[in-house]
Amino acid sequence: MANRALPQSKEALLKSYRTRLKDDVKSMLENFEEIIKLAKGEHDTQLSRLTQCEQDTYEMHVRSANIVRAGESLMKLVSDIKQYLILNDFPSVNEAITQNSKLFRTKQSECDQKLMSLRDDMAADLYDLEEEYYSSINK
């Protein structure tokens, strides 16, 4: 992919995918680390212990929700990349087109063949019929 000169916007898009991936993974890791740090609970503050506990609980919830969000964002990223690949994978599209055209060509030749054989059959039948007609009594 790198050896081909991609347009600017495509390059930017790919870069954004990469950054999204890194960001999400990083956010998962960081949030997890933070939760662990909170669980240790060794930090002195001016707040009262009770308030501190509440705050920690709240923070943990938010951080775990962040992890979940990052996970879903990764799923979305996967889907986006799939979409991007499908829409921009021109070699495979070309392959599909050649395959289709080949298919239609064979279909065409098949039809032609059938028509020709039909014509031949009809000609043979017509020959017989004419023979029959012209040698019949009522002409």
Binding site: I35, L38, A39, G41, S48, R49, L50, C53, D56, T57, M60, H61, R63, S64, A65, I67, V68, G71, E72, M75, S79, K82, Q83, Y84, I86, L87, S92, V93, A96, I97, N100, R119, A123, E130, Y134, K139
Partner: protein
Amino acid sequence: MSFNTVNISVEAPIENQIQEITYEGVEIYQPPLTLSESLAKYAQKIDFSKTSEADIKKEEALEEAKSDSDSKDAFQSSLWPWDSVRNKLRNAHQEVCVLADVLNVAKDKRYMVLDPVQQEPLETKPMVQIYARKKALGGAANVLLAGAEKLKTSQNEAARNRTTPDFHIELLRLRQNWRLKKVSNTIIGDLSYRTAGSKYLQTGTFEVTKAEEDDKPGTPPSSPLPTSGGAQPTKPSSALKVAIPSELQGVAYIEVLCQKDQEDLCSANINLLGSGAPSSNPDMHWQQKLEAAQNVLFCKELFNQLAKEAVQLQAPIPHMVVGNQIMATVLPGIQLIIALRHSTSADKKSDKQPSPSKSEHDHVLEHSLHQLLREVHHKNTHHPFPHPATGPLGPSKKRMMAGPMAADRHELLEMTKQETLLEQIVKQAQHFIMRMRTEYVLDTIAKEFKDPLISSHWNTLNSPTQSCVKINISTHGYDAVCRTPLVIHVGEKSLKCICRDGKVMNMSYEPQELRDLIFCHINQHQILAVQALAKTMGWQSLGNSNHLGSGPVEPLGNAASCLLASPTGDRIIAIRCEPQASGMQVSVAHSPRTDFFPSRLVTERKWEHLGGQFRDVRLDKMEGRNFLHKMELLMASLTSNS
């Protein structure tokens, strides 16, 4: 500084400062400061770091004195140097206001209460803290588990519903068949024939969306919005949804009718999807839906092109374009009607019926109209290769040769002419009608005439505007004796008949002319056949004439005749053949009569050799299957008698 009592007035010097002294010694003075300039100069000297009241007061007094003396406009113009002053004053004002607000809030005790800070922290047991932390961790874990569960169920769901393919697989299939691109967040597809060489302006874009899983099964099938007509209300069979613009929805086809004075001769329906129109119900598969939309687009382009040409073309009888219908005169009294029928899903049923299911459903006209536009498309994309590889792309090979071959203006003009679609289809329709007429004439004649058999063989290979029929006129049982072959080329507006003797006859589109020609040839055939038969029987042909000058005047052509003599020469048969239906007249003469009675005029028997009276033969009373058979019998009987 201790001379308090003595006031020293400080004045500016009367003379201005010298700016420059020129070489002649002329002194150029600096212009004196204007009032505003001097004000600005003074204002810049104010030092706000001075805090002593006396200083400020002194300065303020100074300023006031200055500003009072200033005129109004001078103050306006000196806004710049005053800016720093103003800013500093405003900042100070703001701070004072905020302080006042805080004091107010604290004093009112309605919004905020200031409490003294508790000095010694509340004693909490470490166990409580641990429990709290455990609980917090448990909550976080629950959130994570719920999230994971959600992802897992969605995956399982997809795995279980293998019957409904994945959105991406569907998208891949769609991509393999249609052009798609992504514009910001939406996927836009294109179903126009632009890439195939079409230059039609209307765009055929459609939008691809993901079908929602949670579509309510109870939604009414007829959605009011035209663009959401593609919504699949009940159990989406595909994970993909395409939205087609409303003008491309429904079913369209082009109807081609050949009309003869309000009576249909033939009709053809162009419908790329075949006559069985696809039901445009909303839960159609996207492939069919897109194909239908593309068909609509194609029909529209075709009709548009035809209508444009119909208006531009200058035909002897002008073409008419009314609404969705083009009327062109093909042959006198026969019109070609091309109509665009576009039915949206709503009125499909009612629209489908009135199209008359005529006996003549010509697929050839249908196909050729289709083919013509395709050809135009093909030409738009497939240019002939430029001969020097660096030459311009576009001009045809013939035109490339025009320079070296020194083509004149007329030739070049001829090159630029190209037939429009309408002209071509009109020609094809003309040929179609000509062919039909010829067929009809030949068939009716073959039906009418049993005596010489007329068999026609149509060539199986022909072009849309030219076909060829070979006609054999022969008599049953005597095919080997004589047969008259004819070849008729059926063109667009004329017929060309190549006769047995190599004569070429050109005829117009009137069927009567062909009919007359065939009649003439039937007569000729009879005369020639009789002569050929006579030769095999040993009779002599005394003479024949294809264009007999005697007898009553024929309405068409001339009567043909021949005279045959028996081997011994004593009997003569005269045959006269008229192109009219009355047909043949056969007469027999016995030259020496078997019995001779001398009369006053004819005294001797030898005079009987000069030939006698002709007596008519009543052919209809004779034995024999056909004319030649009868003649054979007649000749045989006359020969044996002698």
